[in-house]
Amino acid sequence: MRKKIKPYIMLIPVMVFILGIFIVGIVSGLLQSFGYFPAIGLKTLTLQYYKDVLSSPSFIRALRFSFSTSFISSLVAVVLGVLFSYLLLYDRRRKGGPLVNIYKVPIIVPHTIAALLIFILFTQSGWVARLMYHLGFIEDMKYFKPLIFDRQGLGVIMAYVWKGLPFITLVTFDILRSVENKYAKTAANLGANHFQVFWYILLPLILPTVASGFIIIFAFSFGAFEIPYLLGPSTPKALPILSYIHYNSVNLADRPYAMVINMCIALCGFITVGLYVLTFQFIKKYNNQ
């Protein structure tokens, strides 16, 4: 009996946080998004807030902006991160080379500072504009097409790539190395070239890790406030910023709108995970046949 209860007792502290704060936060948000907000006297459940938000053009624009910046930045970070990881692999002969660790620096740099770095480089009086001027491409800073605060969100994308790339390299490097040790030499021995080894052997084996890395950075960038706030355009706004504007409104009755947006952000995360699970189940089935 005691043995049966013991694991639950060990889980109590962590569950106090997960259920007491995390789940309570999500559920309160969910209730408020359906208009249940007793603190200001709203007690009837309604879908009205969802209807209002989902039909508003500013929400659609924000959704498109958040999705495209997050998706493109995560994709670029994953592709370049895996490529960099692969290139580092053949660097290990020179053991203790500085390369192996120095690429990790962006991981400890917070997003606020990542935004500053992109700002320093790409603002109209930034370093890239100056370089263009010296190379004779532009005559003055006002001719430099700003890459930040732009409607496509290039600055936002660059900042997330800068943060995401080394993260992907970090999570894939060790597994790539062990897989390479096991199979790559055999394949090479049998006549596979570098590209074939990578494409047919290494990549399929590290794909689950790569995919979960993608999900983590995608879900994070989709719901993070700092970078789109500091580098994004004033329209369209990213979803987290739109949500905060509703949340911070003087009129408390606007809060359900913020919660609707928050639920959409969370839902997108869940959909991504769902796709991930389905894909791997499909691959498993396919392989077993």
Partner: protein, 264 residues
């Protein structure tokens, strides 16, 4: 082969060159258009950060204390949870696993806005402990997952042996479990500390501007585009993280060496 070499260094430059620019901005007294390199040299921005009268240094220290408390608390709740998942079979295990990893997927913005009202009701909003509690959440998946890997790798045989040989439960923890999981604790602790120290939005929301962390102090400088001040503050930020990680590794490394000297 040449192409590989070039691509590698292009990526590396892309990662490190912006940091170099930031260092340049932090020590320049003037760097006007269209110069490519800083024109003057001064440490004025740094002296502003480190001078006691400006209060920046105090914010830095308070912020470090907050993140250390967050890290300790997160690890403390993660250890038993990871052990339970690693060594016991129980009903609802898969649900527990999903619940613990969920903070990686659901953004903290959603959670913090949802729980804010409760925090106000129970008096946790705008307090040190309120901020600590909300910072623990994003650290839990990392803490539990990393320690779970460590426990699964080590198994619990050595602990059982120690118990059979007559060690008390406390002795087992002090002399067997802790030294075994120390490397995992350092990695998990580092990630949790960095994440907590870097949080801007949830600190700002739950702390209500009353609890000012270093990340919050830095934010308006970046927002207003004050390149020199923001750069100097950022470099102090990064250095402080590096310093804490370095010291932890040294202290814990010493402890680790001492305990394992006699028993392994």
């Amino acid at each position: 082969m040449r192409v590989k070499w070039i691509i590698k260094y292009i990526i590396l430059t892309g990662l490190l060159f912006p940091l170099l620019m930031m260092i340049g901005w932090s020590i320049t007294s003037g760097w006007s258009w269209p110069s490519l390199i800083p024109q003057g040299f001064t440490f004025r921005a740094y002296s502003y950060v480190l001078e006691p009268t400006t209060g920046v240094f105090k914010i830095l220290i308070n912020s470090m204390i907050l993140s250390i408390v967050v890290t300790a608390l997160t690890l403390l709740v993660s250890i038993p949870a990871a052990r339970a998942i690693a060594f016991y079979d129980f009903k609802g295990k898969s649900v527990v696993k999903v619940l613990i990893l969920l903070p990686l997927i659901v953004p903290m913005l959603t959670v913090a806005m949802g729980v804010h009202l409760r925090f106000i009701q129970v008096g946790l909003a705008n307090t040190f402990w309120g901020v600590v509690l909300i910072h623990v959440i994003p650290g839990i998946p990392y803490g539990v997952k990393i320690l779970l890997n460590v426990f699964e790798l080590n198994g619990n045989k050595i602990e059982t042996h120690a118990r059979i040989l007559g060690a008390s439960p406390l002795q087992v923890i002090r002399y067997v479990t802790l030294p075994l999981i120390t490397p995992g604790l350092i990695i998990a602790g580092s990630i949790i500390y960095i994440a907590s120290f870097s949080q801007y939005f949830i600190t700002f929301l739950i702390g209500g501007g009353r609890i000012v962390t270093y990340a919050m102090f830095l934010f308006p400088f970046v927002e207003s585009g004050d390149r020199t001040m923001a750069s100097a503050l950022s470099i102090v930020f990064i250095l402080s993280i590096t310093l804490v990680l370095f010291i932890t590794e040294k202290i814990v490394g010493n402890f680790y060496e001492k305990s394992s000297r006699y028993y392994v």
